[in-house]
C-alpha cells in the first residue's frame, strides 16, 4: 500500500494549528502571522507536500486540464500538440491527449470519458473519417468550452486556429508555374476534408492567374498516405496526360510520388517537378531534396492553447476568434530547374 502523501491536515496536526490556517499559509491568502506561515511553509517543504489535485478540482469544479482530441500523431499534429503543451504549461494547465485515429467509436468513448469531470474543455482537430458532429454538439449543449484547430469542424461554432490552406496551395502551384512547368497535377487528399479542398482551391487560383486551363484529370483525390500516393503517381505517369510536375498536399504523399517517379526513371527536377506540404525535416535529406510548403505547426498549437486558456479564464466563449496563419514555401531541388531564363 502507498505511503499516503501528506495533507494539510497532517501539517496542521504536527503544528497544532487548524487546517484553515495551513491552507491560507500555503496559498498566501488572508492575514497570517509571518512566523506561523514560515513554519508551515518549512514543514510543507520538508514533507514534500503537494496539494491533492483531485480534491482541488472537486472543490473548485475545475480541473485545469485541457482535453486534446486529434485524429493521429503524425509529424505535423504532434508538433501542434507540443505547441498546445507549451501554452498550457505556461498557464499551469495540464494537457491530456487522446488519439482516436482508427475508431470513430473510440473518439466518442474518449470524449465522453474526458467530459466526465476530467477536463475543463477541449481543443479539437477532427479526424478525416468523422462525419457526424453529434458527439461534439453535446459540448455546445452542455456549454463545455472548446477551440478547434488545423482541421476545423463545419457548422460548429467555436474559436479556431488554422493555416491558410488556400494560400499554401497557391504558392506551391505558382512556384511550379514560375519554374516553367506546364502540366501540373495535384494529389489532393480525401475529398471530405476541408484542408484538401482549400489547398485545391489555391491550386486552381494559381492556374487561373497564369492562364493555365484547369484539367480535372490532373486532380487525384486520395488518402493521406504514402502508399496510395505511390500508386496514384504511377498511374498518372503512365497516362496519356502525363504531368510534368506534381503538387502533393502532404509530404508523405510527396515521398510516395517520388518513389514512383524514381521507379519510372524520370529525372527530377528536369523532367518532372515536385512540391510537398508540411516540410517534414527528412525532406532535406532526400536526393533530390524535396520542396515543400511549411506551416507554423507549433505556433498553431500554441495559439490554440492560448486562446482556449484566455477565453476560459475570462469565461467568454461567445466571441469566436478566427486565426488564420500563413504558410511559407521552402524551395529545394525537386522543383528548381537548372535552366535559368536569360542565362
Amino acid at each position: 500500500m502507498h505511503n499516503k502523501p501528506p495533507t494539510i491536515k497532517d501539517i496542521a496536526q504536527r503544528l497544532h494549528l487548524s487546517i484553515s490556517t495551513v491552507s491560507r499559509a500555503l496559498r498566501n491568502a488572508g492575514d497570517i502571522n509571518p512566523e506561523t506561515k514560515k513554519s508551515i511553509l518549512q514543514l510543507a517543504e520538508d514533507l514534500n507536500y503537494q496539494p491533492n489535485r483531485l480534491a482541488l478540482s472537486l472543490r473548485q469544479n475545475q480541473t485545469n486540464t485541457i482535453g486534446v482530441i486529434v485524429p493521429n500523431l503524425d509529424y505535423v499534429i504532434s508538433t501542434m500538440v507540443k505547441g498546445i503543451d507549451e501554452a498550457a504549461l505556461e498557464a499551469g494547465f495540464t494537457v491530456i491527449v487522446c488519439q482516436s485515429n482508427e475508431s470513430f467509436g473510440r473518439e466518442v468513448v474518449n470524449t465522453r470519458r474526458m467530459l466526465n469531470s476530467l477536463v475543463d474543455g477541449f481543443i479539437i482537430s477532427i479526424s478525416s473519417e468523422t462525419k457526424s458532429n453529434e458527439h461534439f454538439k453535446v459540448l455546445s449543449e452542455r456549454e463545455i468550452p472548446f477551440v478547434v484547430f488545423d482541421r476545423v469542424i463545419p457548422d460548429l461554432l467555436a474559436s479556431s486556429v488554422i493555416l491558410d490552406n488556400e494560400e499554401g496551395g497557391f504558392i506551391a502551384t505558382e512556384h511550379l508555374i514560375e519554374q516553367g512547368y506546364k502540366k501540373i497535377a495535384i494529389l489532393a487528399g480525401p475529398q471530405t476534408l476541408g484542408i484538401s479542398n482549400s489547398r485545391l482551391e489555391g491550386y486552381k487560383k494559381a492556374l487561373k492567374k497564369h492562364d493555365i486551363k484547369y484539367d480535372d484529370e490532373l486532380v487525384i483525390y486520395c488518402d493521406f498516405n504514402q502508399e496510395f500516393a505511390f500508386y496514384a503517381t504511377e498511374e498518372l505517369l503512365s497516362s496519356k496526360k502525363r504531368p510534368d510536375a506534381i503538387f502533393t498536399i502532404s509530404d508523405r504523399m510527396a515521398i510516395g510520388a517520388m518513389l514512383a517517379i524514381k521507379k519510372k526513371g524520370l529525372k527530377m527536377p528536369e523532367e518532372i517537378g515536385l512540391v510537398g506540404f508540411n516540410n517534414e525535416p527528412s525532406l532535406a535529406l532526400f536526393s533530390p531534396s524535396i520542396s515543400s510548403v511549411e506551416q507554423p505547426s507549433f505556433e498553431i498549437g500554441k495559439l490554440a492553447g492560448k486562446i482556449f486558456i484566455e477565453q476560459f479564464l475570462n469565461n467568454d466563449f461567445s466571441n469566436h476568434k478566427e486565426v488564420i496563419l500563413k504558410p511559407k514555401l521552402v524551395i529545394r531541388e525537386s522543383s528548381v530547374r537548372m535552366t535559368r531564363k536569360g542565362n
Copy 2:
C-alpha cells in the same frame, strides 16, 4: 457557465429518495426494491447521468488512470501506446500519455504532476537522455506501482516487457552473413542505451558464430536519427574499411544510410546490403525495399498494460514479471543478393 451535470443528489431529490439508495441502485449493490431501482435507472438514463470521476477517485483513493511516460511518439512507441490503450480500455482504465522528449526537466515536472493524485501508477519507457533515476526512485519509495517497457531502467525493480534485442541484432547480422556479405558495419545508436548495446551484442554473437572477426572500426555509435545516420554512412563509405553491408538498429537510420548509399552511387543489394530495425510500413515502398527486424510493438504495449492492471488489481508488485518477446526478420530486396549459390 456550464449546465451542471446531474448528480445522484439530483436523482434522489426528484424521486424523493435518499442518495444512498440511488447510489446503491446505480451500482446494483445491496438489496433494493426492483421497482425503485427501475425508476432510478430510468431517470439516470434520461438525465444522461455519469458518475463524477473526480469524486469517485477522491473517495476511493484510486483514479483508474495509468500514466504512460515515453521519450517520444515515433512509429514503434506510438504502436506500443496503442497496445497499452487497448489493455486499459478492456479493463476500464484510462491512459494519460506524457511525452517528455526534449526536456528532462519536463519529464520530472510531468511525473510529479501526474503523481499528484492523477494516476494510480505508471508504465514507463525511459528517454535516451535520461541518466538519473531519481525521479523514478520516488515512485519506489512512495510505493507507487509501475511497469517498464521497451527501454528499461537499470537498477529499477519492476516488472518489465521488452524485446529480445540481442536476438534481433543476431538474426539481422546472421542473415547478412548468409547472404555472403563479409564486412558488415553496424550503426549502433547511443551507447548509453540498453537496447543499443543488446543489439550490438547480438551482432557480435552472429559474427563470432560464423568466425568473422569483430572490427570496432565498423561499429558507429550515433544518435537515433536519419540525418546522423546519413553522415555516418557517408563517412563509412569513404573510409578504407568500406563495408559491404550495413545493419542499422532503427529504420530511420536505415533510410539515412540508404540515402548516403544512393548518393554514393552504390548498387543495393549487389554492392552493399542493408537491414534496418522496427519494420516501419514505408520500408516496403522504397526501391529497393528495405529488410528490417520486426518487433511486436503492439503486443509489447498490450502486455505491459495487462501486467500493470493485473498486478494493480491484485495489489501485488513484489513479484516482478519479466517478459521478453521475440523479434522476426522481414527480408526484402535490400539484403538479398541475386546471385544464388549453385545456380
